[in-house]
């Protein structure tokens, strides 16, 4: 395929206008000995050939009935989301620099920001970040930047990849990163936080539901954090906020997280989006694009990119972040997703997740050879089960039955040998859950 347009005649006219005889002359500034002879890349394919060859590649991937989460979740995506993000007017526009010609994108981002604010109970949100992991890193950088302190306490029950990415981002900074160990009940204990926090602590980073699916006591953790004047950064699953305390309710300063659950497919983990919401006092300190409401010459409402003096294209090395391209289209999917479910539907969706997960949990824990790992803990749609059975065999049997089984936590930390992390979303039917239980019983 070739998407260029000029035929021989047009090319000739254009070259004449330029005053050269060949396209090659246009590259005369480039020394001849630097030129490439020919790229060793296969010949171009027609659309039909592409469709067939990529269908073949696609079929080398397998799709399962999944009971695995751990950061990326199988949720239903309403048709409206697909329709809207497929609109080429959204898809093929650039970052909305010319506001008057980009009101569609700008208003949608403004709506997205508003929805993230109500969801988190905080005051201001940015237009999106790359994903959950980098949103945590950006929140940590924000805290270090404004506090002038250089210690960060981070829960070991954050998604392990998020911790890795925070470490990467802090590689050349002077900040000290302290990873708080988990308590015996699968959550972070007050004593651990209090033993590590001091006057030099810029922020405490907690995830709820944490990596083990457990809802942390954020009220307590936040209060302990505030007693040392540190910022409380919370990493949340946005869907869980339909039922569980919003960050604003427990006095969080910054809420971040992975937006994939709000209308992006799993797609091996990308593309998705990260969200960030903050208290009013931090809005000028946020990284990334922010859309604000204003008026036009006729006093009519409109939207623009705003607080731009924070950003790299103006502040260069003094910017709040280097981020430019973010994940606008995925955030748009999030906006449509939240609007489509509405308050009532969204709460029902969250309830359905917890109910189905609880149903599976009750059945699995009563099987011989399986038991609850953390008694009396509240979870959302993921839970940990300990087993005496061979985990590799379990997942092998499940895979044969086209089921992507629970995540093996043996390598996560030494307290979790023989532990499995199950995830049950609204996508799993009773029949599928029963089938899973039946197979587990037979192993």
């Amino acid at each position: 395929m070739d998407y260029t347009q000029q035929n021989y005649k047009a090319k000739k006219q254009m070259l004449d206008s330029i005053g050269v005889t060949s396209i090659d002359e246009l590259f005369s500034e480039i020394p001849k000995d630097l030129r490439v002879k020919e790229l060793n890349i296969s010949n171009g394919q027609t659309e039909q050939e592409l469709l067939n060859s990529f269908k073949r590649l696609a079929l080398k991937n397998k799709i399962f009935t999944t009971f695995r989460g751990a950061g990326i979740y199988d949720h239903y995506i309403p048709s409206l989301v697909c329709e809207v993000i497929g609109r080429s007017e959204f898809l093929t526009a650039y970052t909305p620099y010319q506001a008057e010609a980009s009101q569609g994108t700008l208003q949608a981002i403004f709506e997205y920001q508003s929805l993230i604010c109500t969801l988190t109970g905080l005051d201001a949100a940015n237009a999106s970040l790359y994903d959950g992991s980098t949103s945590v890193a950006e929140a940590v950088l924000l805290a270090l930047r404004i506090s002038g302190k250089n210690k960060i306490l981070i829960s070991s029950l954050l998604h392990p990849e998020y911790i890795q990415i925070v470490k990467t981002y802090l590689e050349n900074s002077k900040a000290e990163l302290v990873v708080l160990p988990q308590g015996i009940n699968g959550a972070i204990e007050r004593t651990v936080l209090e033993a590590n926090i001091d006057d030099n602590t810029a922020a405490v980073v907690m995830q709820s539901p944490n990596y083990l699916g457990i809802i942390e006591d954020m009220q307590m953790l936040s209060a302990a954090t505030k007693s040392k004047n540190a910022l409380f950064i919370t990493v949340v699953n946005p869907l869980s906020l339909g039922l569980f305390q919003a960050p604003g309710e427990y006095n969080a300063d910054i809420a971040v997280g992975e937006g994939q659950v709000l209308g992006s497919p799993m797609a091996v983990g990308g593309s998705t989006f990260g969200f960030m919401a903050v208290k009013k006092s931090l809005e000028w300190k946020m990284p990334g694009r922010i859309v604000g409401q204003t008026t036009d010459k006729d006093h009519k409402r409109g939207f623009v990119l705003t607080l731009q003096s924070r950003e790299q294209h103006i502040r260069r090395e003094k910017a709040t972040s280097n981020i430019c391209t973010n994940a606008s289209l995925n955030a748009l999917a999030g906006c449509v997703f939240l609007a489509g479910w509405g308050a009532e539907g969204f709460v029902n969706l969250a309830k359905t997740n917890i109910s189905k997960a609880r149903y599976a949990f009750n059945k699995i824990k009563s099987l011989e050879g399986f038991k609850v790992k953390f008694e009396n803990k509240t979870f959302f749609n993921e839970f940990v089960i300990e087993t005496q059975k061979n985990i590799k065999k379990i997942n092998k049997v499940l895979l044969k039955n086209n089921i992507l089984g629970p995540l093996d936590l043996s390598n996560f930390n030494e307290n979790l040998t023989n532990c499995l992390l199950f995830c049950v979303t609204e996508q799993r039917t009773k029949k599928e859950i029963d089938k899973l239980v039946e197979l587990l019983a037979k192993i």
Binding site: E29, A101, Q107, I165, P265, A327, F346, K430
Partner: protein, 475 residues
């Protein structure tokens, strides 16, 4: 004016509901329950559809108009890419399923990396970074880690003042001290000046080639020699790769590290601000420092290798923005070797054609010829205090998206035009005609009309100062 979602919200049922097919009681402790109001709107699907479709129609997009936004490479986004990216066998794959069950995905990542190596002349690529700036940050971390590994204290970076703002911002994030490099009036670099600032503490010199004025740096080979003689490395900002694909390869002319913006050169749509992808390429000696996991081919199986002790670690969860990588790979397969070179030839032809038609009318600080884009400085021809911003806004009235304006900052009243290879001569001719009309005729005869522009857009000129002074960031 399109209402906001909260203004549309009514007592009607939400668009979506879910059926619960299990019976199960659960208790949430009161202390963990949400008590605050959840202000999501309740709107029927039909009204929501109208709302978002109406919003989409307020956007100028590549699918509706010419979008000559300099430095952003707004080329046509082929529809086949989108169609393939919708395959369920890509979208319904979980990142933590076994490697044997995602061989197609790993094969695409592996082969895309190989093709990017061939196009760039570098030895290894990592497709993990999620955007150009993310690639810059990752590439600079690789360099920093490399110097640490050979126990050299080098923490400085030289960046020309004509560079994109992300360059210094990424460098600061990666922990470098920035030495600004003042470019000449035409955007070129003085070897003498470079020698003056190139101290033993300099780890890397970061260049955009062609530069942001659309000029190929003639002295690049000499720069490469001087930089390497100093023991420093050379970084290639691939934002302008569309000018030189199949013509030159950064690796061949001495660059050690580069990033590529797949959402520019490789035509994955920009989505109104992402998602993008910013893969980084390196010379072989830097491979050990690339992010993990690496996708490798062992005994005709694709595997994920996390065991790289010198790696900078991970920069993004999972494997990067796979959906974007996929579209870029389809694009490469679609064009092939000849097609890729043709892209750059046509992009440079289109830009030079426009430049030829405009250069006798409007000042061009960087000279007679250009690569894939060029920068105009209309200061001397604009009359009656009409400014570049007004010209940009007036172009919107004629149905065009505006070029990049006021960048690079070293050019006064800059207008930066990048037509890309996918536009026809007719489209370029019409645009040139309108641009000349605004700058020469309208700014002279009816300046107020230009200053009042736009008037044909969904809203008129918006007050950005008020937006920043009194921020309203949500409803």
């Amino acid at each position: 004016m399109e209402k906001l979602l909260n203004e549309m919200s009514s007592q009607c049922k939400p668009a979506y509901s879910v059926n619960l097919d299990v019976e199960c009681d659960y208790q949430i402790p009161e202390s963990l329950k949400r008590n605050s109001h959840l202000g999501l709107p309740n709107i029927a699907e039909s009204d929501l559809l109208r709302h978002f479709i109406n919003l989409s129609r307020q956007n100028y997009a590549l699918s509706t108009t010419f979008y000559p936004l300099g430095s952003c490479t707004m080329k046509y986004n082929p529809l086949i890419n989108e169609r393939i990216a919708k395959f369920n066998e890509f979208n319904a794959v979980h990142p933590y399923q076994a490697q044997e069950t995602m061989q197609g995905i790993l094969e695409i990542i592996y082969k895309l990396e190989k093709d990017l190596c061939e196009i760039s002349g570098l030895d290894y690529f990592s497709v993990q970074p999620a955007a150009g700036a993310h690639g810059e940050f990752s590439g600079l971390l690789v360099i920093s880690k490399y110097f640490k590994s050979i126990k050299q204290k080098r923490a400085k970076i030289i960046i020309p003042d004509s560079a994109h703002g992300t360059n210094p911002a990424s460098a600061a994030l990666a922990g470098f001290d920035i030495i600004p490099f003042k470019s000449e009036l035409d955007g070129s670099l003085s070897i003498e000046k470079l020698k003056e600032i190139l101290t033993p503490e300099v780890a890397v010199v970061m260049l955009t080639v062609p530069n942001t004025l659309g000029v190929f740096e003639k002295s690049v080979v000499e720069v490469s020699k001087i930089v390497h003689d100093n023991g420093s490395l050379l970084y290639y900002d691939g934002a302008n790769l569309n000018a030189v694909m199949g013509i030159i390869r950064p690796g061949d002319i001495g660059f050690d590290v580069m990033h590529i913006n797949l959402h520019k050169t490789f035509s994955t749509p920009h989505g109104g601000g992402g998602p993008g992808a910013g893969p980084i390429g390196v010379k072989a000696f830097l491979e050990p420092f690339l992010p993990v996991p690496r996708v490798e081919l062992k005994k005709s199986k694709y595997i994920l290798n996390y065991k790289k002790s010198k790696s900078i670690g991970k920069v993004k969860s999972f494997f990067g923005n796979f959906s974007v990588l996929l579209k870029a790979y389809v694009y490469i397969k679609s064009l092939g070797s000849v097609g890729l070179k043709n892209v750059s030839e046509q992009a440079v032809l289109n830009a030079n054609y426009m430049l030829a038609k405009l250069k006798n009318i409007i000042d061009v600080p960087a000279g007679e010829k250009c690569m894939h884009e060029f920068v105009l400085s209309p200061k001397s021809v604009l009359k009656n205090t009409v400014r570049t911003l007004d010209v940009a806004k007036r172009l919107l009235d004629y149905g065009y998206y505006a070029p990049t304006v006021y960048f690079p900052a070293i050019v006064e009243e800059a207008i930066m035009i990048e037509p890309t290879e996918t536009e026809s001569k007719e489209t370029l001719d019409k645009f040139i005609e309108v641009l000349i009309k605004i700058i020469l005729e309208e700014s002279n005869k009816c300046p107020q009309k230009v200053k009042d522009a736009p008037v044909n857009t969904p809203v008129k000129r918006l007050n950005e100062v008020e937006a920043a002074r009194n921020p309203i960031l949500k409803w």
